[in-house]
């Protein structure tokens, strides 16, 4: 990897700077629109153009790679572990980060475009929150420094609350406040876990922490280290929306605007990956950690999908399905093999795209009717035939129907669990995919196929063309990764090999 790569920090700096700028300009609609379009286009473009590399902030490369500084230092420094430790905040941009950041960029790009064209007066504050969230999650994916990751985790959590607060949806303030309160239990626990890790290893760089544990510089079964592991895993459950946080997470999705929900779920998916990868890197020597990840993922799948079936609000239904789908990613991580982790990462990429497509697609129903209750909806196929067709394909993709992307990742997960000698996990995954399909078809039938209820008022406004274009683009990504899965898995395999 080349070390100097200025595009790596720009992935974070550009959205944050523009976000702050937009916040000041929120009354000037035209300027907000122009800046938002430019930044939105840059979000997936920069990671696509950037070369792989490592970036050091506030320090220098390890002494072993830096002979200029190392020369003249005493041998007790250059001859010890200090020689390879990272004194700077390190950002690593590899192939897996490239794919995931690009996909996150595309989801944010479409969310920003739709939000700009669906409203007459674009809100600088709303775009500010989306950009700050995107920058934070990108930083979490890049950072090799666990404290730096925590800072961005907090910013991402606050921007998620902000996105819900500025959405004009009933009871949004209440849900956002509840998320903050629940977060005030989980976030300090994560920080305490990081502090304990720092106390034991004397380091916040993840590569250095792993080195210290693997080479015996630190006792791997130190009680403080075990406590740190448990607290970091607890924080991970909150960040990702795994049980017991699945209820509040799904409530957050359902109280945001469709574009907000699309980016919120992408934040959750990639935060899940960012912290999950760190947990596997540091604590994979504890076999129990993998068993725990597998167990909590199965619980998330079962609770998320069974709760989805019983919902009467279609946004909440998709929200619970999104939580359930997170469980599939976790199963891949919990299996702990290269193939399993690759499948989990692939599922993460797929889920971010499919769920965004579903939220945007079902958002067209809200746009036309201002209604989310299933019992009050019906006959929408006549009103929105194009988006109905796209939503149907998105639903098939989520359930794992070929030739879409989730079919490939779920098939890989099933194969991986069979290879690991756990056919029960494979059976549960197949069973829940069938139930996902049924849940989606129930919602689709209710909204689009049954006769229109007498009291349903449908607005005469056409769905903006940008919304349909965004849905088609997301569907193309689903189809391409479904037909050529190696386009994604080749990018993800390196990271999986590094942590398995």
């Amino acid at each position: 990897m080349s070390t100097e790569n200025l595009l790596i920090p720009l992935m974070i700096i550009i959205p944050i700077t523009c976000a702050l700028f937009l916040n000041l300009l929120h009354e000037k609609s035209r300027v907000v629109k122009i800046i938002s379009v430019i930044v939105a286009l840059l979000l997936p473009t920069i990671p696509l153009l950037a070369n792989y590399g490592i970036q050091y902030f506030g320090g220098y490369a390890p002494l072993a790679q830096n002979p200029t500084i190392a020369t003249g230092l005493p041998s007790f420094i250059t001859g010890s572990a200090l020689n390879i430790f990272h004194p700077a905040i390190t950002y690593v941009f590899g192939s897996a980060q490239k794919l995931m950041i690009t996909i996150l960029g595309f989801v944010a790009l479409f969310a920003i475009f739709i939000s700009l064209y669906e409203v007459k007066k674009p809100s600088g504050v709303y775009i500010y929150l989306i950009l700050m969230g995107v920058a934070s999650v990108m930083a979490m994916l890049l950072s090799d420094d666990i404290f730096n990751l925590y800072v961005f985790f907090e910013i991402a959590a606050l921007t998620q609350v902000g996105i819900v607060l500025v959405s004009k949806v009933d009871h949004n303030y209440e849900t956002a406040l509840k998320y903050l309160i629940v977060g005030s239990i989980a976030s300090p626990m994560l920080l305490l876990g990081i502090a304990l890790l720092l106390g034991v290893t004397g380091n916040v760089n993840i590569t250095d922490i792993v080195y210290s544990i693997k080479t015996g510089l630190v006792d791997p079964h130190s009680p403080v280290l075990l406590m740190a592991g448990s607290l970091i895993i607890f924080g991970w459950l909150y960040a990702a929306g795994l049980p017991p946080f699945h209820t509040i997470k799904s409530a957050m999705y359902s109280k945001a605007l469709p574009t907000g929900a699309a980016v919120l779920q992408a934040f959750s998916v990639f935060t899940f990956v960012a912290i999950g990868v760190i947990i596997l890197r540091i604590f994979s020597y504890l076999h129990f950690a993998e068993i725990f990840i597998l167990g909590i993922s199965l619980i998330a799948m079962v609770l998320g999908i069974t709760m989805a079936i019983t919902q009467t609000d279609f946004k909440r239904l998709i929200a619970f399905l999104a939580v359930g789908e997170l469980g599939y990613i976790g199963v891949g991580f919990g299996l702990g093999t290269v193939f399993g982790i690759t499948a989990g990462l692939f599922q993460a990429v797929n889920e971010a795209v499919i769920t965004a497509l579903l939220f945007i697609g079902f958002g067209t129903i809200m746009y036309k009717t201002k209604e989310t209750e299933l019992k009050k909806l019906g006959g929408m196929l006549v009103e929105t035939p194009k988006s109905a067709f796209l939503v149907l394909l998105a639903g098939l993709a989520m359930a794992g129907v070929p030739p879409f992307n989730a079919f490939q990742s779920k098939l890989m997960l099933v194969q991986s669990s069979l290879n690991s000698g756990l056919p029960e996990v494979a059976i549960i995954m197949v069973l829940l995919s069938i139930v996902t399909f049924m849940t989606f078809m129930r919602a689709f039938h209710t909204i689009y196929l049954r006769p229109k209820p007498a009291g349903l008022v449908i607005e005469n406004e056409n769905i903006p063309r940008v919304t349909i274009v965004a849905m088609v683009c997301l569907l193309i990504i689903c189809l391409v990764f479904g037909l050529y899965p190696q386009l994604a898995t080749n990018y993800l395999q390196g990271l999986a090999m590094g942590i398995a």
């Binding site: 448990s230 946080f245 996990v425």
Partner: protein
């Protein structure tokens, strides 16, 4: 009373508790029944994984879990009641989860 009527009664009870005035439709009853079957089958399949520890334990646990499920049926209305948006319920489960995770990691890894 057959199982369908029994589940219907439980759904009505939950609806009354949550203040939901709407009628119990075929769709909501079928959905609850599907969720019920899904959760029971997933639970029983998951228990089979105990074979990796001990086959006798697995068989005993399957019988025990089956009996518990049979006595606690229908599970889904109870589960739905617990997974509401109440801050008190959420906070309770968050604290319980924290206690379980810390205990499992701390003592589970020290004493094996």
């Amino acid at each position: 009373m057959n199982i369908y009527d029994f589940i219907l009664k439980k759904i009505k009870d939950v609806k009354m508790e949550t203040g939901d005035e709407g009628p119990v439709t075929n769709i909501s009853a079928t959905s609850m029944l599907t969720a019920e079957i899904t959760i029971i089958s997933s639970l029983l399949i998951a228990v089979v994984m105990l074979r990796l520890l001990n086959r006798a334990l697995m068989m005993a646990m399957i019988v025990i879990v089956f009996l518990i499920i049979f006595m606690a049926m229908p599970i889904m209305p109870k589960l739905k009641r617990e997974q509401n948006d109440s801050l008190a319920t959420m906070s309770f489960y968050v604290i319980v989860a924290l206690a379980i995770i810390v205990s499992l990691f701390y003592w589970g890894n020290l004493n094996v």
